[in-house]
């Protein structure tokens, strides 16, 4: 009897040990899982969209971003000495994909009803061909808007960029009346921007961060990007390489894919023109005519929304 009792005790011990072992392992595994969940960057963290130098669109957790902004290095009112920014828009490639507008709207926290970059359906006359024309601030060398500002709230920098100081603007809208390209927008009410827009102190070289009620906004040629060595949002976002951006003093412009062209050659060979040249504003944006188009004009009609240029959150 003693033997069977011992056997029973041993079995009991083994059984208990086994159960204990299982529970312990289960507990240990569960504990590890819990710990690792809280330590790693999970799906719930906010992602920011960036483009790599290869041209891929990637998403990066916001916590990984480092600001390279070197604010003390230059004066926002003066800009970069020895640079003059120019943009080339290739109308032969534009299919009204509207990615440029979306990137600009998102990057500048634009929440109103009027985007700063608009793609117009142009047709000079009934017999001539229609085409899509992306238009944003032309950063004119003889800016009519700057001439008429009564309080020096909009100004032209050394690098050719025309900016607005939303802390000085009195909202008279004379600049908007003077601009022949209709590129300026007004904040008629309190802008409904996300908190991120007001996260840092205001500086005129990041328009829209934040937008101020009762003042004027417009395309800023993204000095907040170029100071980091990156190109404006629209240039990078275009899937068709419509935009090219660069420094006129280097005689070079680079498109979204990274291809760099000799500016003077490009303008000469492709027969570039500027908008409303006869008004004498001397814009910094060159347009390459819609010749040898990559696609038919009709392709762009799919995305054509004549009464909307800023998508509301619910649609995104």
């Amino acid at each position: 009897m003693k033997d069977s009792n011992n056997q029973e005790q041993r079995r009991e011990f083994i059984r208990k040990g086994f159960k204990f072992g299982l529970v312990a392992t289960a507990g240990g595994v569960l504990l590890t899982k819990y710990l690792s969940t809280s330590a790693s960057a999970s799906e719930s963290e906010e992602m920011v969209e960036l483009m790599t130098t290869e041209g891929d669109l990637v998403k990066v957790p916001k916590s990984e971003l480092q600001e390279h902004h070197n604010a003390s290095a230059y004066n926002p009112r003066e800009g970069f000495a020895d640079k003059k920014f120019v943009m080339v828009v290739d109308l032969a490639k534009c299919k009204n994909a509207r990615k440029c507008q979306e990137a600009c709207n998102k990057g500048h926290y634009i929440t109103g009803e009027n985007a700063w970059l608009k793609i117009y359906k142009m047709q000079e006359s009934k017999e001539t061909s229609p085409y899509w024309m992306p238009t944003q601030c032309q950063h004119c060398d003889k800016p009519p808007c700057v001439k008429v500002c009564p309080v020096d709230a909009t100004f032209k920098r050394r690098d050719g960029i025309v900016l607005i100081d939303n802390e000085r603007c009195i909202g008279c809208r004379f600049c908007m009346a003077a601009c022949p390209y209709s590129v300026r927008v007004f904040n008629w009410e309190e802008p409904k921007q996300e908190e991120q827009a007001s996260a840092e102190p205001y500086t005129p070289d990041f328009c829209g961060k934040p937008s101020v009620k009762g003042t004027v906004d417009k395309c800023d040629f993204c000095p907040h990007q170029t100071i980091k060595g990156e190109m404006p949002f629209c240039v990078k976002a275009c899937p068709n390489d419509v935009f090219a951006f660069g420094d006129m003093y280097e005689d070079a412009v680079t498109n979204g894919s990274g291809t760099t062209f000799k500016l003077s050659e490009l303008l000469k060979e492709r027969g570039a023109h500027r908008l409303m040249e006869s008004l004498g504003t001397e814009p910094s944006v060159y347009y390459l005519p819609p010749v040898d188009r990559t696609d038919d004009f009709e392709v762009g009609l799919e995305n054509y929304t004549p009464y909307e240029s800023v998508k509301k959150d619910t649609e995104l």
Binding site: V29, K59, V146, F261
Partner: protein, 288 residues
């Protein structure tokens, strides 16, 4: 407890255990897509590691991912026995890229093998990628001839034997990208491993400095070899900047003289008269 219940409980517990284990491995550890290249920049050897992962058809960079780097050492030539010697580690930045600098004495002339491994990552699966290459040398210079400037370069292996028929890219660094220099996109080295590119166009630079890059791009045997050159024959364009001039679009401190003088003269003239008239009112008040 009855036996059946015991067994049932055990089974349930077992499944729970396995279930949660499955959770750990399927949710948190992602497969990473790795790429390792040998990059030699201005004679400095390094390994360029890029890591990304795919989620919902979009690629994301694998940031903050730590790699341990090993050099494969041949122990026995005959048996091709190798050993992985740990030489260091690198962590990817926010773009999913990491650059690990190698020591020159770690590079042999041929048959270099380096392995990068993901170990102990809480986010990514364990993985490894290796790169094999032979060392080569690239030397470039600018020759100023009578008929213009030439960029010459020579590609040799580590024993100074010329490497012919290799494709070299010559480009000029501009603000946002690299611009093609000369007629062709790339140039093939001749029997002496040399290329010579004539720069016929005027190249512009405000400072006069031109940053050229001569590159053997992602060669199967030799990796990527880059040599940077600085030329000083960049032409400075006349500045179109009106910031310091008096113009109609300048700030108040630089008002054109006409706009400054005429309105002020008119105002001073009129207001002076108005002040005199106020004085007249005073005179009327004061008269006996």
């Amino acid at each position: 407890m009855k036996n059946k219940t015991k067994i049932g409980l055990t089974i349930v517990l077992f499944f729970c255990l396995f279930g949660s284990q499955q959770n750990i491995f399927s949710q948190d550890l992602k497969p990473a897509i790795l790429d390792v290249q040998y990059l030699k920049s201005d004679g400095n050897p390094s390994l360029k590691i890029s890591a990304k992962y795919r989620e919902d058809r979009v690629f994301y960079p694998a940031t903050g991912l730590n790699f341990t780097i090993y050099k494969s050492i041949l122990l026995d030539e005959k048996d091709e026995l190798t050993e992985d010697s740990l030489i260091g580690s690198a962590t990817t930045d926010e773009a999913g890229l990491a650059l690990f600098n190698l020591q020159k004495n770690q590079i042999k002339s041929i048959g270099n093998t380096f392995i990068v491994r993901i170990e102990n990552s809480s986010v990514f699966e364990e993985d490894e990628e290796s790169v094999m290459f032979s060392d080569a040398k690239l030397s470039a210079s600018i020759e100023q001839e009578e008929d213009g400037n030439y960029i010459t370069a020579q590609l040799t292996d580590s024993e100074d034997n010329p490497l012919a028929e290799q494709s070299l890219n010559v480009s000029l660094k501009r603000l946002f990208g690299k611009m093609q220099v000369g007629e062709d996109e790339s140039y093939e080295t001749d029997e002496e491993g040399k290329i010579s590119v004539q720069i016929s166009d005027t190249l512009y630079s405000k400072s006069g400095k031109l940053n050229f890059e001569i590159k053997l791009d992602e060669n199967d045997d030799y990796g990527t070899i880059v040599d940077n050159l600085i030329g000083d024959f960049g032409v400075a364009m006349v500045s179109k900047d009106t910031f310091d001039k008096r113009t109609m679009w300048s700030p108040p401190s630089k008002t054109p003289l006409f706009a400054l003088i005429v309105p002020n003269l008119l105002l001073i003239g009129i207001w002076f008269t108005l002040v005199l008239l106020l004085v007249n009112l005073f005179k009327i008040y004061k008269s006996k």
